[in-house]
């Protein structure tokens, strides 16, 4: 027994070693790309954040000075505040609307109408955010569609340049995000609802529950995973938003719609202060992780 098992065990070990090698070989291309395009630039970003550097010339080590500036500059802090306000429009409204729409579509008979409504709702998702920003800035203009419609229904008194008004600029920009993201939320939640056992719905109906009861007892818990994914994606979209704002208001009027993405872009590429831009970028990443990771944890533990 021992005579025969020893070499066999050796062969198994060799085979497993070979397996490990093959595994690494298969992993290598992806790993190289990951290290080359994610880890190394990230490390360089951290490194730059400790320097005063214009991106080309001589760099001077400044320690944590750039970070100190991020946390003391009122303009930069206000832009972080605006990004958190955008969560209302990028996350709460689209996910909320998506939930309602998805359960409404589910209760519709499958047919042309439900397919068309899904397609229509998803349509904004295929439009690039930058293009959506430009198109909406026309609609929000003093002579744009929104004010024309208000005029037709006798609410001409409410008409204003929506993106140039200090009170409405941020909500107006946020609603562009809601418009784009609602489709994605609806379609993903609809897929999630399709996976919920129909017998559960039948059971709760037999127990005499109405739409609300059904929604809160069956639909909502059944969609926890999808909601977690959507909240994660949309919160990241809100906190790191750039394109909609850049094409619609560029942070104005004043600094009413200034978000970290725009600040970082300006500091890094217009002011050529690569160190401060990197530091702000790292801070933004930490904030995003601090918000998103608890959401992930919540979706797992509270079932």
């Amino acid at each position: 027994m021992t005579e025969s098992t020893a070499p066999r065990r050796g062969a198994a070990r060799a085979a497993s070693r070979r397996g490990t090698l093959v595994g690494w070989a298969l992993l290598a291309p992806a790993l190289a790309a990951y290290i080359g395009f994610v880890v190394v630039p990230f490390g360089m970003g951290i490194q730059y954040s400790f320097y005063d550097w214009n991106g080309v010339g001589v760099a001077t080590w400044v320690g944590f000075e750039n970070y100190a500036k991020v946390f003391t500059d009122a303009t930069l802090l206000a832009s972080i505040g605006n990004a958190f306000v955008l969560i209302i429009y990028f996350t709460i409204i689209p996910v909320g609307t998506g939930l309602i729409l998805a359960s409404l579509i589910r209760s519709m008979r499958a047919g042309a109408f439900s397919t068309i409504s899904q397609a229509v709702l998803f349509l904004p998702q295929i439009i690039p955010l930058a293009a959506a920003g430009i198109a909406w800035s026309w609609m929000y203009a003093q002579t744009g569609t929104i004010n024309q419609i208000l005029g037709w229904v006798g609410l001409g008194g409410l008409a204003r340049p929506w993106l140039a008004d200090y009170g409405t600029a941020l909500p107006a920009v946020g609603l562009i995000g809601s418009w784009v993201l609602t489709g994605l939320c609806t379609v993903l939640l609809l897929t999630g609802i399709g996976k919920i056992e129909t017998s559960l719905y039948e059971a709760i109906r037999l127990d005499g529950a109405g739409w609300w009861r059904e929604f809160f007892t069956i639909t909502l818990p059944g969609l926890r995973q999808e909601i977690a994914v959507l909240v994660t994606i949309t919160v990241i979209a809100a906190l790191s938003s750039f394109d909609i704002i850049y094409t619609s208001t560029q942070g104005g009027p004043g600094r009413a719609t200034l978000v970290p993405g725009i600040s970082i872009f300006r500091i890094g590429f217009t002011q050529s202060d690569v160190g401060l831009a990197s530091a702000f970028g790292i801070v933004l990443m930490v904030i995003v992780l601090a918000v998103v990771l608890p959401i992930q944890r919540l979706s797992r533990s509270s079932r």
Binding site: G43, I46, N54, T270, Q271, Q296, R300
Partner: protein, 451 residues
């Protein structure tokens, strides 16, 4: 039901791993600082003013919507078939953001549109044109026109070596819609600031928009600075724009000018949706007949003329007291030569040709409406008599004679326009801040950037 997956914990572990790896990579890299070492001075001892007979292709990096380089290159190749051009275009914003990286690359463009010199001289990216200045005899050109294109070794603009030249030298002023003026009983351009204010009040009282301006992208600052120019000490203002040590934006004159803008904002002289109006919108709305006045530069003259025909005129912003000298913003459409250009002699020959060749000077005027610059004793290109472009050339000459040209404050530092002047002026023209606050905030940003 939902399937339990440890996604959350994996997410945390992944993130921690990522941060750790990156931190280690970062620490490993901190041994060597990013960027290059201090630049070595590039000197070109033996410059030639003779054009080569070899085949040479020159590369120009220019902004979109600036067709004059195409026309000039075409004409130059016609005169000198051995020289051809490749012109790469990008939007103004992208080009200015990428300029240092383009210049630092191993294959830089020979000539690049560069509105602000910034750190490029300090980093050794631009060719010093001083040897050519002597060789071509550019000392005959107006010194005040070239001053903003110079930079000293300490990074102060206005003096030192020559690093840029202009493809046309612009001038700003006020365009007036003559049809509206006629209706309002205004028969001539105002000669003083007080007369200008009277005209504004007349227009407002008659329900005509007094000033067509926009500030989504900051163009209202043509108006803001026009007001400041009249109150401020010109040299003091310029020393700030040239970043001289100790220079400040917070001067009584600048505050007075900014307060005047606040007064005009309170009086409703600007469009109510001013912060939603960008450059394109405000020029087209004035072209469509909206607004008695608009503050803009010679580059807009041809389009306004096309749209409004004879119903528009162009004049310099009036001084406070009648007969005082005029002060107006003007700047070169500045281009720089890359220090690493392999064809220094050829590209500078091209630049000199633009300022001296009659056809080239005619192209500058016809395409940009700007003054061609160069030796003032050279004949001026021909323009249609009575046209706005003719007015613009006269205004350029007058400002030259009165020595009243100042740079645009937007060119003070690379980041000040987007980072401070635009957002603060948006607040000023909608009466959210006072003129004094405007000046203080812009100065605070300036200090944080210049340090």
């Amino acid at each position: 039901m939902a399937i339990h997956t440890p996604r959350g914990r994996r997410g945390i572990r992944l993130a921690t791993g990522l941060v750790a790896t990156a931190a280690i990579t970062g620490l490993a890299l901190t041994g060597c600082a990013p960027g290059t070492s201090a630049p070595t001075e590039t000197t070109n001892a033996d410059v030639s003013t003779e054009l080569t007979t070899e085949e040479v292709n020159l590369v120009i990096a220019d902004e979109t919507g600036f067709p004059v380089t195409d026309k000039l290159a075409e004409e130059f190749t016609k005169q000198h078939p051995n020289i051809t051009f490749t012109i790469n275009r990008d939007t103004f914003q992208n080009l200015t953001a990428n300029a240092p990286k383009l210049l630092a690359s191993s294959t830089p463009p020979d000539l690049i549109r560069l509105p602000t010199i910034g750190d490029t001289v300090k980093d050794g990216l631009l060719a010093n044109l001083d040897p050519y200045y002597d060789a071509y005899g550019w000392d005959a050109w107006p010194a005040s026109q070239l001053a903003p294109l110079r930079m000293s070794e300490d990074g102060i603009r206005g003096s030192g070596s020559l690093y840029q030249l202009g493809l046309g030298y612009s001038i700003t002023g006020i365009f007036m819609n003559l049809e509206l003026a006629d209706q309002l009983g205004i028969d001539a351009p105002p000669q003083t600031m007080a007369e200008l204010e009277e005209d504004l009040a007349t227009a407002k009282a008659a329900g005509v928009l007094p000033i067509m301006a926009g500030d989504k992208d900051g163009v209202v600052n043509f108006v803001v600075q026009a007001a400041m120019n009249q109150y401020a000490d010109k040299d003091e203002f310029m020393s700030w724009m040239f970043n001289e040590p100790g220079a400040t934006y917070n001067t009584p004159g600048n505050v007075e000018g900014a307060e005047l803008i606040r007064k005009w904002a309170d009086a409703g002289y600007f469009p109510s949706d001013i912060n939603a109006i960008d450059y394109f919108t405000f020029t087209s709305r004035f072209s469509e007949g909206e607004g008695l006045f608009t503050f803009n530069g010679n580059w807009a003259a041809a389009d306004y003329q096309k749209a409004l025909g004879d119903d528009v005129t162009f004049f310099l912003v009036p001084p406070i007291n009648e007969g005082d000298g005029h002060v107006a913003m003007g700047a070169a459409n500045s281009f720089s030569v890359a220090a690493k250009s392999a064809h220094l002699d050829e590209i500078v020959y091209f630049l000199n040709w633009i300022h001296t060749d009659p056809t080239a000077r005619q192209i500058i005027v016809d395409v940009t409406g700007a003054s061609p610059g160069g030796d003032p004793s050279l004949p001026l290109p021909e323009v249609e008599s009575g046209s706005l472009i003719e007015k613009a050339l006269e205004m350029s000459a007058q400002i030259g004679a009165e020595n009243g040209q100042v740079d645009f404050m937007a060119n003070t530092t690379a980041g000040i326009y987007a980072g401070s002047i635009i957002p603060e002026s948006q607040l000023l023209v909608t009466s959210k801040i006072t003129g004094e606050e405007f000046v203080e905030r812009v100065q605070a940003f300036y200090e944080s950037e210049v340090g």
